[in-house]
Symmetry: C2
């Protein structure tokens, strides 16, 4: 240990997990070895250990997939199912009163990850998958998460090429920077046909005592959307969740220097 050249064993184990993706949810041993850049015997030994623990499972077809035990441990992530458990009743309420798509997302580095989604049966089709990633600059939840991200994150996103999804996607960094300022001023974001030409989303921040930790949105058909009517609904949902996360509470363990008033 500590003496083997190059990558650590830990990183090799993690590379085996990295080999799986939504597009490749099952892999053969040789595909796993190739993707993790490991010799076949090494891959074989590590994979056997991962199977024994339950991180991977081997199907009747001989292919490997992510195992239930890893899903179970992953479900303990506070930013995953923890946030989802808290948010689901509020999301169900939003769905009940609108029958539109409701989404919940957090930022992971320079992308967003969808934590939960309620897809309206008669609502505009959405492509999101729970656990799936997306760029920050196009969707409503992405614009909220980017607007409240640390400056370094914003600068990196603005410096990189901004992918165009539709004719309306903002790909000019100057315009995007202005839009982010508007989002902070308004307290919500609207993405109008910036991902697909039939959909509009309205998103609001969810805060804990340290800042914005997630975003919630409604995705509606752009031609029947009334963003002005829907924005307060989404903002209210964001505030209920923020309150549950202690965003508006006195920070614990600190003596207040002056009285704090709740702010928007």
């Amino acid at each position: 240990m500590g003496t083997q050249p190059g990558r650590s064993v830990t990183s090799k184990v993690l590379a085996l997990l990295d080999a799986f993706s939504p597009a490749s949810p099952t892999l053969t041993l040789s595909e796993l070895a190739r993707r993790a850049e490991l010799p076949l015997p090494t891959a074989h030994r590590r994979v056997a250990e991962l199977v024994a623990w339950g991180a991977l499972e081997r199907g009747d077809d001989g292919r490997y997939r992510i195992g239930l035990r890893l899903w179970e441990v992953g479900s303990l992530a506070p930013r995953g199912l923890g946030l989802r458990e808290l948010a689901l009743p509020i999301m169900e309420d939003l769905y009940e009163v609108t029958h539109e798509n409701v989404q919940l997302a957090v930022r992971q580095n320079f992308e967003l990850v969808f934590i939960e989604r309620i897809a309206g049966r008669r609502a505009v089709p959405v492509l999101t998958r729970v656990g799936g990633r997306f760029a920050l600059h196009a969707t409503g939840v992405g614009l909220v998460l980017l607007a409240y991200a640390p400056t370094e994150v914003q600068e990196q996103v603005l410096a990189a090429p901004l992918e165009r999804y539709t004719a309306l996607t903002i790909t000019d960094p100057v315009r995007l920077r202005r839009r982010l300022a508007e989002v902070r001023r308004a307290g919500y974001a609207i993405s109008d046909r910036q991902v697909t030409m039939d959909a509009l989303s309205i998103a609001a921040p969810i805060r804990d005592p340290d800042g914005v930790v997630a975003a919630i949105s409604l995705v509606v058909a752009h031609d029947r959307a009334d963003p002005v009517a829907l924005a307060p609904l989404v903002q209210a949902a964001g505030r209920v969740l923020s309150r549950a996360l202690g965003a508006y509470r006195q920070p614990s363990g600190r003596v207040p220097l002056r009285s704090r008033h709740e702010r928007q």
Copy 2:
């Protein structure tokens, strides 16, 4: 590598993940080291690698928690979110027509793991948590999963002490064995106040071409439940999901020896 005595590095890394539980979702470094039975410097090094990859995250309080990247990889487990994505619309339909609790579970060794849950606002309170475990012998979903489990699994569960949750929990292995035969005969399971004294659950199997892979249930207040009316509804939901999983399809790549008829 392969020369270090005792546990492999892989098992040490996995032991660090095992240290987290629903009761202990955040841990300090020394708690992590103690639970994983690792010297502090070793734990420190491995934890740093896990944080760099995103399997763990370090909070502002200095405590570690399961990271979003692990949740993301875990979401690729076909028996986790994969099954859940497939089942959710059917579960929502069951909820719409009953407004009762709907649950989805799979077996992991000698326990069940809840994959999804829709909690009725006005329904009987349930204690389940997505990602949480429970014994097989008491709940409706558990009885279904146990009834269709391999014989070795059944024998091990029947040989171990059966925990009593209420006066009605079946803790006698002879009675439980008889009950499992009834479940297989009926094609559904009823657990009447065997977990809490106010609830009754009705569960049905979900199959793929190789057998029962999950169970779906309704959990209702026992005093207003009509299991005879609800059982066909739950069984129908199980069958819709089984069909989606290819349970009633011709096995692929095999020449049928005789025509196959769909069976219950």
